[in-house]
């Protein structure tokens, strides 16, 4: 028996040494952008840098990247007339490649009319119900996620440029409060993992900075595109908390705040993540 345990211990030590080397190897490669003064991070690092080279390769090749299936689906939908007004997205906005450039990078944006910020999903549905007189798409529906991905894809490579001053500042503060509030049975805040412990190996994965520049993202785990608020829900569920509702004011405030934490990072939509 003692021999068996002995060899197990040797094996375990060898495994630990190996994983330590692997962790070190990956950390050394992580590239980021310098954060503006007064930011929480010194270096802002995209979630891309925390993924394996195989996952990165999948994102880098526009043909292999399964997120592009959604981009192509939505490109057709962009031209498709829906609703009683007989309009498509194209009737008002023209070619998405030019008119939607930079739009996704600056979301969520303040809406004077609603006197609150709106994110991309909400804006798409406002367009549908007000201008096209069509049924708004439900959150998590293939159509809404595809269109969100398509519009945000038009900003790919452009820096995240969310505005947080003026009327947005109370929302920004609310988002910050949510970010640092511990929730759930595990009593964890967003900051517990993504600010204090990013880069560490946990739950068979590297904790990222929790940046939003790649959303909606093709998650290999789900084998489909996942919108940001679904990921927020997932995180809250994982800490055994009761998640806020997608597209609720709470998640909207959090989206604004988290976007600011990644300010200047290039948009990567459609990204590929675990």
């Amino acid at each position: 028996m003692s021999i068996r345990y002995g060899s197990l211990a040797v094996l375990a030590t060898a495994a630990l040494t190996l994983s330590a080397i692997a962790v070190f190897g990956q950390e050394a490669e992580r590239m980021g952008i310098p954060a503006p003064p007064g930011h929480v991070f010194k270096t802002i690092i995209s979630g891309y840098q925390f993924r394996t080279k195989e996952t990165r390769a999948l994102q880098d090749d526009d043909l292999e990247n399964p997120g592009f299936l959604a981009v192509e689906r939505a490109a057709d939908m962009w031209k498709t007339v829906d609703g009683s007004e007989g309009k498509s997205c194209m009737s008002c906005h023209g070619e998405a490649e030019t008119t939607m450039k930079g739009v996704g990078a600056a979301m969520p944006k303040w809406s004077e009319k609603l006197n609150k910020p709106v994110n991309l999903e909400q804006q798409i549905n406002i367009c549908r119900s007000e201008h096209m007189k069509a049924q708004p798409w439900p959150f998590k529906s293939k159509e809404l996620t595809d269109m969100t991905t398509f519009v945000r894809f038009q900003s790919r490579g452009m820096p995240v440029a969310v505005k947080t001053d003026g009327p947005m500042s109370p929302w920004f503060e609310r988002g910050k409060e949510i970010y640092y509030t511990r929730v759930g049975q595990l009593d964890l805040a967003c900051a517990s993992c993504h600010e204090k412990n990013n880069g560490k190996f946990m739950r068979a994965d590297f904790l990222s900075q929790g940046q939003t520049n790649g959303f909606p993202t093709y998650r290999l785990r789900d084998q489909r595109l996942v919108p940001l608020h679904e990921r927020f829900e997932g995180c809250m569920f994982d800490v055994r908390g009761v998640p806020y509702k997608p597209l609720s004011d709470e998640f909207l405030a959090l989206e604004i705040y988290v976007a600011w934490r990644g300010i200047g990072l290039p948009v990567e939509t459609p990204s590929v993540r675990n």
Partner: protein
Amino acid sequence: MADKPRIKLPKEAKKGEIIQIKTLVSHLMESGQRKDAQGKPIPRKIINKFSCEFNSKPVFSCALEPAISANPYIQFDARIDEEGTFRFAWTDDDGSVVTAEEKIALKA
């Protein structure tokens, strides 16, 4: 299954050149092993066969199994000896077939 498959291969190649062909098709690939919220099994629905022909001669084909993830990506090589047309076919469990064609020319 209505989506157009994504295919990438060069427009032209030298005689005898080996080219790389990449294909990606949108499909749920439901394994048949999962259960829905009511506990009832979700019936299997996958692409079970992929084939590629060049000028009606087989180039590559494979059987796909339930463990293959959604949106299967298949990559293979082919030697080009003449100009012609590649025909790709993905066969679904329900019998429907998605097809696509790509032409390739010979480089002078």
